[in-house]
């Protein structure tokens, strides 16, 4: 079998879950149309567009900041100079992860008041932790002999990080980012509770008013966004992680 057909088959395999999801989505839409809920949802078209934009800003700003700072922090903790403090810090990070996200948002509200800012900060913290943990773990898992070989060939510490350590940890780092972004997108609706806006407004108001059309008008875009974000980072993981260290592209 040629490399081309093999990689095509692998691509198909990696796309399969999304095809299944699309089929389920179609079935749901059919049910909604059949029950008449679809028209109820469409009544909120303008709200959906406006709140989705708000929602995207929440996710993009908090998620983007978390990816940048999380990878940076993970790298910093993995450096030999930090070895004495790294494990303790990671333990603290693990404990912080176990605080429910709603609790984190409530804490942010007490510290920063209400509005988008505390929501973004809360989401940032919730998203940060898995990225730090995975970046640190991924870098620590790079075999010592690779670093030894790189050093022995005259690579500078920075070149070793950039060309050996990070590429070899990248798959695990991406796994952390995907977990983190799933948490981020899933938690973003709660931001409404501390005045952060977003699609949570339709969901929570819909629940309170027992307006299922309104609730679904918030819930369905949230779900679609979650799938889209995971698809995006899944594709990035597939294409950006070098083939030699990418389990998705080797089987």
């Amino acid at each position: 079998m040629t490399t081309a057909t093999r990689s095509w088959e692998m691509r198909q395999r990696s796309l399969l879950p999304y095809a299944v999801l699309a089929a389920i989505a179609l079935a749901i839409v059919w049910v909604l149309v059949a029950t008449g809920l679809w028209n109820d949802i469409l009544r909120y078209r303008k709200d959906i567009i406006y709140l989705t934009k708000q929602h995207l800003v929440l996710v993009a700003v908090s998620g983007g900041a978390a990816i940048v700072t999380g990878i940076g922090l993970g790298i910093w903790l993995s450096r030999p100079a930090m070895a004495r403090y790294a494990e303790a810090t990671i333990q603290a990070v693990n404990m912080a992860t176990s605080i429910p996200t709603l609790g984190k948002l409530a804490l942010m509200m007490t510290l920063l008041g209400i509005g988008p800012l505390p929501a973004i900060v809360g989401l940032w913290i919730a998203t940060l932790l898995p990225i730090v943990r995975n970046t640190y773990a991924g870098l620590r898992a790079v075999p010592a002999h690779l670093v030894d070989a790189a050093q022995g060939m005259g690579m500078s510490p920075r070149a070793i990080l950039r060309r050996v350590e990070l590429p070899n940890a990248l798959f695990v780092i991406f796994a952390g980012i995907r977990t983190a972004m799933a948490v981020n997108v899933g938690t973003a609706p709660i931001a409404f509770l501390i005045g952060g806006g977003g699609l949570g407004e339709l969901i929570f108001t819909g629940i309170d008013l027992q307006e299922y059309g309104m609730m679904l008008a918030g819930a369905i875009p949230t779900a679609l966004l979650a799938v889209a974000v995971d698809f995006l980072f899944g594709q990035a993981q597939y294409w950006l992680v070098p083939r030699g260290v990418n389990p998705l592209r080797n089987s």
């Binding site: 002999h145 070989a149 022995g152």
Partner: protein, 329 residues
């Protein structure tokens, strides 16, 4: 040329710290292969790693071509020294071509030159360039990976090669093959090689000189023939084994022991070539029950005879003609 002067490494520990390498001095001539040999924990790897300064010496100096290596930036120094380790350490995120190109890239070679060099090295190591250049390390067998590891170390044509049990992870059959390839290559490249091993047979096969270590000290530094023929002490004798005379046969050639042909040489005696080693000679003595062999060159001309007596005389008197055998003090 590499010179070690009273090289010492002491790792600090609660009870003061014993030296893992204790005032080791020796000299390896340009183009020679020196095997550092000894049981594990004897300091041979630490000694090797002090040469490219992956380990900083506690005291003592290393000179390469007369230049004190402590005066050079370690990162720059390492780019001029090839380095091969037992785990090979090919970077799994890079293709074979990229792995071989690591040091050239650090030296800012242009891409076509890096590519050409990788092709050239793979061909030299009996790997078809077109087939292997774009493979990833996880698509190589152990022996192939080890060859690529050697190619990577040779990429920027460093005059010095450090090899830490380079063939230790390869199965015995392939190890022999790779050793032979390396010897053939070394014949034309004439690198100055320091090679760590714990295998006396490998050392006898590969080395121009062997440095035997015990507990951080250099016990004997000599050519294989002298080491086997005249071990400096009981430790060395024990380490090289009771069959050390048999081991010597590998490194002595017919040319070393033959005498000019005379009229009396039996015309029907079995024939050997001047480049054959004494293992073949002794095998023929025993199998054919003869005392004399004819030595013929590639053209079939008689160039000498080998007698049992000459072999015995050679084994009784270890060669001293191989330069200074004793470590520098």
């Amino acid at each position: 040329m590499i010179r070690l002067e009273a090289l010492t490494k002491i790792y600090p520990s609660s009870h003061g710290g014993a030296a893992s390498v204790d005032r080791v001095s020796f000299e390896v001539g340009a183009g020679e292969t020196c095997v550092l040999l000894g049981p594990s924990g004897c300091g041979k790897t630490t000694t090797l790693r002090m040469i490219n300064r992956l380990v900083a010496p506690t005291s003592g100096k290393v000179f390469i071509d007369g230049r004190d290596t402590s005066a050079v930036d370690p990162v720059e120094l390492r780019r001029t020294i090839g380095y091969v380790i037992q785990q090979i350490g090919l970077f799994p995120n890079m293709t074979v071509a990229e792995n071989i190109g690591v040091v050239p890239r650090l030296l800012n070679w242009d891409r076509p030159r890096m590519r050409r060099r990788a092709e050239e090295l793979l061909a030299m190591l009996a790997l078809e360039p077109a087939e292997f250049l774009d493979r990833y390390p996880n698509e190589l067998s152990g022996g192939q990976a080890q060859r690529v590891g050697v190619a990577r170390a040779l990429a920027a044509d460093p005059p010095v090669l450090l090899m830490d049990e380079p063939f230790g992870a390869v199965d015995p059959v392939n190890r022999e093959v790779i050793q032979d390839e390396f010897l053939r290559m070394q014949k034309s490249l004439r690198k100055t090689v320091l090679f760590v091993s714990h295998d006396i047979d490998e050392a006898v096969k590969m080395a121009d000189r062997i440095a035997i270590f015990r507990a951080g000290r250099l016990e004997q530094y000599a050519a294989p023939d002298e080491l086997l023929g005249r071990p400096a002490n009981d430790f060395v004798a024990g380490f090289v084994g009771s069959d050390r005379t048999l081991k010597r046969l590998r490194r002595i050639t017919v040319g070393d022991v033959m005498s000019p042909p005379d009229a009396a040489s039996a015309p029907d005696a079995p024939a050997v070539a001047p480049g054959d080693d004494l293992r073949r000679v002794v095998t023929l003595f025993l199998e054919r029950g003869v005392d004399v062999l004819r030595c013929v060159d590639a053209g079939g001309r008689l160039v000498g005879v080998v007698t049992r007596k000459a072999v015995a005389a050679r084994l009784a008197a270890p060669a001293n003609g191989n330069g200074p055998g004793a470590p520098l003090r």
